[in-house]
Symmetry: C2
């Protein structure tokens, strides 16, 4: 059973007080990879003033739902969320997983209505960034405007990666790519790139990658047989990252 450093450290700050001294961008362990990334420290303080931190949301709770009015975008402080859409015939399509330091909700800007729902896969601490305030601040701080444009652009390029994956790659390649993506995002947060716990179920993985649960399961078994990784329920250890890259078709 692995220890979730993220949750323990960061939720610790919350339990005492929402305005705890730890609870601001300046002190946040994630500020180098999150919204404040591009800002001077005095600017960070202004950003800090508009950010709302409420109590953590529990597993399976929604942060927002499709068709809710759009008010804010959200930064993940700890925990993991999934974003998903409900298709016209009632099925679910997972459109992304969001880890600490990542921003979600930007798909709501287009129509002032959330285009997808977001639900916690485990207890999660969230920073809410009211969009109107962010817009105003952006006109005053060109760096912030630039950075937010970049964040949205990154969301676009990531979606395009997923489109390519779904359109061109086999089940093996899709799952190898997802494992590598999670590994890289862990590394960005200074966590292990080779050993981690998957916060999402096999169903969610399959849904995200356009595969059935059975296929996900079989691919994990196959990868294990090939000594690419070891799988113990949700605990993953990457044993041969090079081999995994080759399987994902990311070249040698």
């Amino acid at each position: 059973m692995s220890i979730h450093l993220d949750n323990i450290v960061e939720e610790g700050g919350f339990k005492s007080c929402a305005h705890d001294f730890q609870t601001n961008c300046g002190n946040c362990r994630l500020n180098a990879i999150c919204l404040p990334l591009a800002l001077e420290s005095e600017d960070v303080e202004q950003l800090d003033d508009i950010i709302q931190r409420s109590k953590p949301i529990q597993k399976n709770q929604h942060l927002y739902r499709e068709e809710d009015d759009f008010k804010s975008v959200y930064a993940v402080r700890s925990g993991t969320l999934k974003a998903y859409k409900t298709t016209d015939d009632g099925r679910e399509q997972v459109t992304g997983f969001y880890f600490p330091g990542e921003i979600l909700g930007m798909d709501g800007i287009a129509n002032n209505t959330h285009a997808s729902s977001a639900k916690a896969l485990e207890t999660a601490a969230i920073c809410e960034i009211p969009f109107e305030s962010l817009e105003k601040l952006s006109t005053l701080m060109p760096n912030l405007q630039r950075h937010f444009f970049q964040l949205m652009s990154r969301e676009i390029t990531e979606d395009q990666q997923l489109i390519t994956l779904l359109s061109k790659n086999s089940a093996d390649e899709r799952i190898a790519s997802l494992m590598l993506s999670i590994s890289a995002r862990n590394a960005r947060r200074k966590l292990s790139a080779t050993a981690f716990r998957l916060p999402m179920s096999r169903v969610d993985i399959g849904n995200y990658l356009g595969l059935t649960v059975e296929t996900v399961s079989r691919v994990f078994s196959r990868m294990q047989k090939m000594d690419l990784l070891s799988v113990d329920n949700k605990e993953i250890e990457i044993l041969d990252i090079q081999g995994l890259r080759e399987m994902a078709n990311l070249g040698g």
Copy 2:
């Protein structure tokens, strides 16, 4: 053989002079659906000042290529373009088609490098919008900033639609959806929603939708047999839009 009103009318303006009186946002037939959409007329003039209009690009010419430095985003004035990425193993993934009034190139903002290539499917007139100027103008004009955030957000929601389509829908459903999308975009430009010429090849359609050419061909034949549409090479006429919606699973 159909007549391309778009090309004839708008390229006419170009041939004489790049600073032709017709060639500005204020007079552009598309200004109600393009970037100027949200702006007052005096603001439109300022926007107009930063926009560069060069001579039309020819079929198969590139507007930009993957990994080019990112300098500008582009608005289509006439013609059609496709955006595509080259996968690690050298294949091509079409990520979008762009019609008059639509903006492309926003995926380059994230890393200051174009994440995809854009190529003309037919002769196309383009408005180039230098991004640095657009950023500066956006800090001065909140409406423009807002509108550009919305445009990027729309790109995200459209990509998510495509992800869902690729992940959950059959070949029939994918192609029906694409035909309906093109129809709706034509309607937005006050062109026929039921009769149009496809600017892209079957290969491009298949590539975009994650299908082979053969499958695209067969689906068109099947739709024709079902009297949903008539297909004459690239000329499409939608005969039963309701039936097509049902096939696309967009409900009754």
